[in-house]
């Protein structure tokens, strides 16, 4: 299953309360890839993601899906193509795992249609993929952080969109769960060809898991491309103002940055 949608931005200027955070960003999201946006705090990576996912309306510029502004597509129809998992979602108290995952089916249902066979199947598949089938009847409040994140991703999966946005899906998680979540997202990408666009904080995990990276600084796109092509000492210095050495990750052969601080530097 390959997605054929084309998502791109045209000169996005966006921000909050007239304070501009993005200063004219043009990107074309490569299809069927894992795309990661990186950059220092307050560089606008989250704002770019939210703007592309239509959570923020740009001040000027536009986000174009298949030649049409996403703000001109009926919202429910758009929700069958673009899914989004924000950074800290909230859930009503006492909601069960199965119920929450089922909420992802909302854009596929109408007032009269109720639950179809397809809905049940989508929920089952999503829970199976995230390995939470045996948690189905548990309450969300009882779960660990890693389990909870898997439930949220399963909800986004149940929405069955070709493009999925995730805002820092690994924050607040232990390293074990960070790797687990990124593995699961890779499964999703390989199995269904889902185009993933996410913000990640950890550059080394980004370089390992991303097919394509967008590097931002102060609201401008500084570089984009495959990690092996763009992650260099110079780029990291330019974006993060950090001296570092880029070596080859012994496990994945992807680039890995080793920061150089003021201490403990021998070479």
């Amino acid at each position: 299953m390959k997605s054929t949608h084309k998502l791109q931005t045209e000169q996005i200027v966006a921000g909050y309360d007239s304070k501009k955070i993005l200063h004219g960003i043009d990107v074309v999201i490569p299809n069927n890839q894992i795309n990661v946006i990186i950059g220092p705090n307050a560089c606008g990576k989250s704002t770019l993601l939210k703007t592309m996912a239509r959570l923020i309306k740009p001040i000027t510029g536009d986000v174009i899906l298949d030649g049409k502004s996403i703000h001109k597509i009926p919202p429910k129809k758009l929700a069958r193509v673009l899914g989004v998992l924000p950074q800290s979602p909230i859930a009503p108290e006492g909601i069960s795992v199965a119920d929450l995952v089922g909420r992802g089916r909302f854009p596929h249902q109408s007032l009269l249609s109720g639950w179809s066979e397809k809905d049940y199947q989508a929920v089952e598949e999503a829970m199976d993929m995230m390995g939470i089938t045996e948690l189905a009847n548990r309450q969300l409040d009882e779960l660990s952080g890693g389990q909870r994140q898997r439930v949220w991703i399963a909800m986004a999966l149940a929405q069955q969109t070709d493009i999925l946005f995730l805002d820092e899906p690994t924050t607040f998680l232990d390293i074990t769960y960070q790797v687990e979540i990124l593995d699961l997202l890779t499964d999703l990408n390989r199995k269904y060809g889902t185009t993933i666009v996410m913000v990640l904080h950890d550059i080394n995990l980004a370089a390992r898991y991303a097919d394509y990276i967008f590097a931002l600084r102060k609201g401008e796109l500084i570089a984009e491309g495959r990690p092996s092509e763009i992650i260099t000492d110079e780029l990291i210095k330019e974006i993060f103002e950090l001296d570092c050495t880029v070596i080859e990750d012994p496990v994945s052969k992807s680039p890995m940055i080793v920061p150089r601080g003021r201490f403990h530097v021998f070479s």
Binding site: A79, V84, P89, G94, I95, D99
Partner: protein, 301 residues
Amino acid sequence: MTLDDLMAGLFLSSSDSYAAAVVSERVPRTVFSLLCGGALGVSGALMQAVTRNPLADPSILGVNTGASLFVVIGIAFFNISTAGQYIWLSIVGAIITAIIVYGIGSMGRTGNTPLKLVLAGAATSAILSSLISAIMLPRSFVMDQFRFWQVGSVGAANWDFIAIFLPFLVSGILLAFIMAPSLNALLLGDEIATGQGVRTGLLTLVSAFTGVILCGAVTALAGPIGFIGLLATHLMRLIFGPDLRLIIPMSAISGASILTIADVLGRLIGSPGEVEAGIITAFIGAPVLILLATKLKVRSL
């Protein structure tokens, strides 16, 4: 009471049997309290969903005190005396109060949190109540007209009342049913709701207005009956969980039952007179509010 009395009470406009008179008075009263309770239950469920606040309820947020104030102003200064006129004043009062309370509750750096909203409601309610007293006390005619109404009573009900009220109730509850799935999405936060294709701004506006209008209409005809929204929804949430597609219709049913039971209880306790239903619901509702507030996790910061 015989079957004849029952029939006479139901279908004849005048009858001389005592039992028939009881039927002709009690039947509309019961129907009216079922409708009012249902409307308050749905109103509470909508307000809780829109504000994502488990403590939201027309009386706690001061909305029905605002509705009362407008009715009192109407009685005192504009010579208003019919139910048809009450209802519009009451709805306008309810809407204005809701906007003010929400505005106050959202002020400050933390935005609107459940407890701030409740405090804003309590404070606004206190101010509005004192305004009501200030208008009423020097005017004995207003006082008389207002006295029963003030504590919340379904005792004044007749079929005309019901006819005025029914369109508001039916359209309000219908809208609530239609919005339930989208409100479910809204409970997951504005961002997820938007991501699932909900027009969050429109939904919030329409459901808040629906909740406020339902409560305003009830208040106009039965007076400010408190805590039904809170009691009805939390009871149903305990049984059915957080799905609003169930909670909204079930709160209508439980609200209707609670108010009707309160009305019957009030007649039993107060016999040979009666204790108004609004007093009974406050008596049960206030401790429940305290219980819920102490259990509430403070989600701000």
